[in-house]
Amino acid sequence: MRFLPTAEQRDFTRSLDALLTASDTPSVVRSWSAGDPGPGRALWARLAEAGVFALAAPEAQDGMGRLPVELALAYRELGRHAVPGPLVETAAVTALLSHLADAGDPAPAKRLLPGVLTGESVVTLGVPGGGGYVLDAEGADVVLVVKAGATGPELRLAPGHGPVHPSLDPARRLARPDPGGELLAAGPLLAEAVGCAVRWARLAAAAQAVGVAEELLRRTVAYVKQRTQFGVPIGSFQAVKHRLADTLLAVEFARPLVYGAALTLAPADLAAAKAAAGEAAYASSRAALQLHGAIGYTEELDLSLWLRKARPLRDAWGTPAECRAEILAAHP
């Protein structure tokens, strides 16, 4: 056992971090939130080039061979840098289409996956639940929807979508896809593929949440060291110290759950990782807001880009309550 990133994995993480640091992601998020996906699409292409979207696809589909640990490492970086867009959905679509292909239905993958892997095509996905909203339907090239049909689930290419609804995170642009559209797959095979997609989505979301939690903590630690009140840095107050210590505790115990889930891909491990990482991100956001005070409550401080991500990410693709229920149902 060596439950630590390898040198190659650390190099991969560092190169992604460098790419994202050079990309001024805060302004990318602000554009995306304002309805201008241009800078986001450009960044998307660079991430595809770095291989980020090929990590859930087998080599037979021109992917990098299904690398869940690398995907977790990559999505943690995406979370640390607040990258916007249907990131989790892209991992889910890749897993779904690859699963279909492996199981004998290669047509949808052949048609849609190449664009996803190269970043030329931005995809999103809605599955039953969550009120029927789909993330970034407006900015995506391909909107896939799984719905219950007469004889089981059906995967369709949505013909359009309704208006964009405001989210707690303005970078999340949610809309209801229009009904109908071309049927791409159906039946028990699809049901299995959707299960696989949900597993990868949870892994991606959990990893992203850990990155969000870490960045909120990092920014808050930096702030409380320099912000003074009553003549001293507020980071010297024990109440501030202890709240940040508790935040670190939550993050440090969520992270191994995410890597562990990447290694086993067991549903209970994935649910545990999603629940713990989501709660850690949310706790980190509450601490960050409280310790920044009023300035943290403004959208103009870049902190807000992470603050607003935490709660929706916690609840997307399985709320903590749903994940907990599944863990107990699956417990031997």
Binding site: P166, S167, L174, A294
Partner: protein, 381 residues
């Protein structure tokens, strides 16, 4: 010990309930933090004022009903139970008006209060400065004596409502060589549209301009807009922040109504037992806050004063409000992020998040509780 109402109190409550049932708009008004919503809320204040419900605890000559604190609490219960809109005049009515009653002149009260109560003049607060958050004694904006008044120069921030409001109140340094930092401060009112004032709205987390920065460059304030004596601003402001954190900032009626709405949401969502305890805690907490407030009002009516207990009050409602909204989001599950969802839980949640920060952070409040109510040693934090 009793919780009895007099026949007059019951009649007052019934009259309020009847008026509200006839006048509260059927659909919620647009958000207070938009130009459109601000205008709609001003109109609502005018309607309230026409019915003499805008400031029930004021004397009749200023448009009130001379209601004592128990009637005010009863009115608030009815107001929020009726689903009536948020109060755009809240800053003026709960922060400036008590100061005018205690420290203003009769001329100021007659000139200012009725216009405030009918929403014609909406007031913003101008307390904080960029380097003075929890530490108000380190204020730097100054007022310099000039012919017939003062010239204000400096910067204020976190000025709630200032994006759309008409006037503002705050304290300014009038004696820069005073021996201690909280001496030499003066309490002033000024016009947000006066020459020299620049209002820069600040977007809160959802982007709406819930507050603003104020840049002041030799803004003229006539002597008639100084409250109390020059140099006494700190003492006067402290009595206002006492009120701000005390009985009046959040009425129990507001949370009783919110807890009822939460129970309805819980039932609509199938009575999920995973959230049951938290829903029940919202009901328990609202009742606790109501009874705590009745006890405080009873002490107040018996001649007592609000002291450091106001810090307990502020800690309670600000934490309560967040827990209540988090529970609602929990019940809404993945849909919770949609801020346009019926019920307004999303916007309420964003508003609640500010509670532990403003009007003295909860960290400061806990220090006050520990030092003044429990007698623990000061000094180290």
């Amino acid at each position: 010990m009793d919780l009895d109402h007099t026949a007059e109190e019951d009649a007052f409550r019934a009259e309020a309930r009847e008026w509200l049932a006839a006048h509260v708009p059927d659909a919620p008004l647009p958000s207070l933090e938009t130009a459109e919503g601000f205008a709609a809320h001003r109109e609502w204040e005018a309607e309230l004022y026409a019915g003499r419900w805008s400031a029930v605890s004021w004397p009749e000559r200023f448009g009130g009903r001379g209601a004592d604190i128990f009637r005010w609490l009863a009115f608030e219960e009815e107001y929020w139970a009726a689903g009536a809109p948020g109060r755009v005049s809240q800053n003026g009515i709960s922060l400036l008006a008590p100061t005018l009653f205690d420290h203003g002149s009769e001329e100021q009260r007659a000139r200012i209060l009725p216009e405030m109560a009918r929403g014609a003049v909406v007031w913003a607060q101008a307390w904080s400065e960029p380097e003075a958050g929890s530490d108000l004694a380190s204020l730097r904006s100054r007022a310099v004596r000039t012919d017939g008044g003062w010239l204000l120069t400096g910067q204020k921030t976190w000025s709630s409502r200032a994006a759309f409001a008409d006037r503002a109140f705050g304290i300014f340094r009038t004696d820069p060589v005073a021996p201690r930092p909280h001496q030499g401060l003066t309490y002033l009112m000024f016009d947000l549209r006066a020459p020299g004032v620049t209002v820069r709205p600040i977007g809160r987390l959802d982007g709406r301009p819930a507050f603003a920065e104020l840049f002041l460059d030799e803004v003229f304030v006539p002597d008639e807009d100084v409250i109390g004596e020059p140099g006494q601003g700190w003492r006067i402001a402290m009595s206002t922040t006492g009120d701000e954190r005390g009985l009046t900032l959040r009425s129990p009626g507001r949370f009783l109504a919110a807890a009822d709405r939460l129970v309805r949401l819980w039932r609509e969502r199938g009575e999920d037992r995973g959230a049951r305890d938290r829903v029940a805690d919202a009901v328990i907490g609202a009742r606790a806050y109501q009874l705590f407030t009745y006890a405080g009002a009873s002490r107040f009516a018996a001649g007592g004063e609000m002291g450091a207990e106001s810090s307990l009050n502020k800690l309670f409602w600000s934490e309560y409000d967040i827990e209540l909204h988090e529970t609602a989001l929990e019940l809404l599950g993945a849909e919770a992020e949609l801020t346009d969802l019926a019920g307004g839980w999303g916007e309420g949640y964003i508003f609640a998040l500010a509670g532990p920060i403003y009007a003295g952070t909860n960290e400061i409040q806990r220090d006050i509780v520990a030092e003044r109510l429990l007698g623990l040693p000061k000094g180290r934090r």
